[in-house]
């Protein structure tokens, strides 16, 4: 079953399970010591277990399964986005076509057709959406509807599909293969989120963008960067073709990009007036609350590594 992944990815996954075991143990001890039930923290960690197990299967079986898995995440995120924003009745069929763009975009990624992959949504869907809307004929709220729809496709589909393209990059440059790159990206993005959250909870004082997200603090941001710095430096040579120095730069991109992705999605939720994008993942909120950072880090990391090595 683990035939698809190299030894280094297997070790990296083992590391993640160790981290999870450690945090589960920690919460159990905290509960025992203090008598409180730490419900939110507990359900967060339980959800992490589920997500990590699903992710393990998704990358271990075959690259095709990994890409289908990522396309499905994209589908869930796009659906959640559409359920969250105001839409027009006249645009039902336009939205249908936007959904059809998901398998097509991930197909370009799967076969490694870079040219179409990189222009399909920014150019063709950008033109198709207003064209189909004109056929429906409703002009009231036209620009807003065209803009929000395309924005949704760009974040939840185009951006996230960069994670899938990592799996189509040639294997001979990188011993750990696409799975190694994907692991590096997803692990650093998510670990950075957790580290920022934890440092923010413990020492957070000065919010970075108080009007958007008072809980995102400078201390959390800095703490997150420092915590994952060492992890990135250490694992990069085993999972990616990056040198130690390049790994530190990739790390910086992921840390800052992840933070920005997070607060951008927060700003949108604040604009609409919802707290969580959904309730799919207990303790975390919706799928968008979990992949918000990835919408920024996936394209940033992909183009960084693509420029340097492929």
């Amino acid at each position: 079953m683990l035939g698809n992944i190299s030894l280094s990815v297997t070790w990296a996954l083992a590391g993640v399970y160790t981290l999870l075991l450690f945090s589960t143990l920690l919460v159990t001890i905290l509960r025992y010591r203090s008598g409180k039930d730490y419900q939110e923290l507990g359900s967060r960690i339980n959800s992490w277990w589920v997500m990590v197990v699903i992710f393990t299967f998704a990358i271990a079986v075959s690259p095709t399964i990994s890409i289908i898995f990522l396309a499905f995440i994209s589908f869930l995120a796009f659906k959640e986005f559409l359920s969250m924003i105001p839409t027009r009745r006249a645009d039902r069929r336009v939205i249908f076509w936007a959904f059809i763009a998901i398998p097509i975009q991930f197909y370009w990624a799967a076969v490694g057709w870079y040219g179409l992959f990189i222009i399909f949504i920014p150019v063709y869907m950008f033109l198709l959406i207003p064209a189909r809307m004109v056929l429906a004929g409703e002009t009231e709220g036209f620009l807003k509807a065209a803009g929000t729809l395309h924005w949704g496709l760009m974040t939840t589909v185009f951006s996230l599909s960069h994670a899938a393209y990592l799996l189509a990059l040639p294997n001979d440059i990188n011993v750990a293969g696409g799975a190694g790159l994907l692991f590096f990206l997803v692990f650093l993005t998510q670990f950075n989120d957790v580290a920022q959250y934890t440092w923010g909870k413990l020492f957070g004082k000065h919010p970075v963008v108080p009007k958007v997200s008072p809980k995102k603090t400078q201390q959390g941001l800095a703490g997150g960067l420092v915590t994952t710095l060492f992890a990135a430096w250490l694992i990069a040579p085993y999972l990616t073709p990056l040198s130690h120095q390049q790994a530190l730069m990739a790390r910086l991109l992921i840390g800052l990009g992840g933070f920005l992705g997070d607060v951008v999605i927060s700003a949108i939720k604040r604009d609409i007036g919802v707290k969580d994008s959904g309730s799919l993942i207990p303790g975390h909120g919706g799928i968008m609350d979990r992949v918000d950072s990835l919408t920024f880090t996936a394209p940033l990391f992909f183009h960084f590594i693509y420029y340097l090595h492929y």
Binding site: T87, R89, R92, R93, F96, F99, V274
Partner: protein, 213 residues
């Protein structure tokens, strides 16, 4: 044979459609009835409403689940009639009862006496998409005749966007399902309808839904 077909239809087609293509956000699922006799009363915007409500209850209850549906619509042609009666398992209801001599609620009362769980849409039709219509008083007559039966109000949002009246193309949207607490016959039609309407409007105002025009 037909029972197996019905089971497979809900297991292999309806559940994947409802749970994966649409996706549900359910609040207070535990308040749904776990045995009959009971009546689930819900707002009605789409053919998907019935599919979602059936998917909310465990498959072992499927043989007991009976949606109440308009006779004039669902029995209008033989193919639809076969499908509605055998696969969906509807209890046909005559919408216009004026001048009719036989008891229009006979089928419903009989099903309740067999400890079945009914799904009923008291708005009477799917109406305008994503707008809550007035609940009709038919449910009060049922409650009066079977005062021991629980009525569980459910409010659903999103299905009128996914598949509104008059459309055949399904577009995925998440569906919110808010389950209220069970109501019993209050001894009076007006007060019963008032508490039903109050619960359903309370449930509707629980979510903050984006506009849809």
């Amino acid at each position: 044979m037909v029972k197996t077909l019905r089971f497979l239809f809900f297991l292999l087609i309806v559940r994947p459609l409802v749970l994966i293509v649409l996706g549900l956000n359910v609040r207070r699922r535990q308040q749904l009835p776990s045995q009959g006799p009971a009546v689930i009363i819900a707002n009605h915007n789409s053919h998907l409403d019935t599919m979602v409500l059936i998917s909310l209850l465990p498959l072992r209850l499927l043989p007991k689940l009976r949606p109440v549906a308009a006779m004039d619509y669902f029995l209008s042609n033989p193919l639809l009639a076969w499908f509605a009666t055998n696969i969906i398992g509807i209890i046909p209801l005559q919408r216009k009862v004026k001048g009719s001599r036989n008891d229009p609620l006979a089928g419903i009362i009989e099903a309740l006496d067999h400890e079945e769980i009914l799904i009923l849409f008291p708005e009477g039709s799917r109406g305008k998409p994503e707008q809550l219509g007035r609940f009709k008083t038919g449910i009060a007559h049922i409650a009066q005749r079977r005062p021991e039966v629980q009525f569980v109000p459910v409010y659903m949002h999103g299905l009128g966007m996914a598949l509104p009246k008059g459309e055949a193309l399904l577009v995925p949207f998440f569906c919110d399902v808010f389950v209220g607490s069970a109501l019993l016959w209050s001894g009076d039609r007006n007060s019963f309808m008032q508490s039903v309407n109050r619960q359903i409007t309370d449930l509707a105002s629980e979510g903050s839904f984006p506009s849809w025009e």
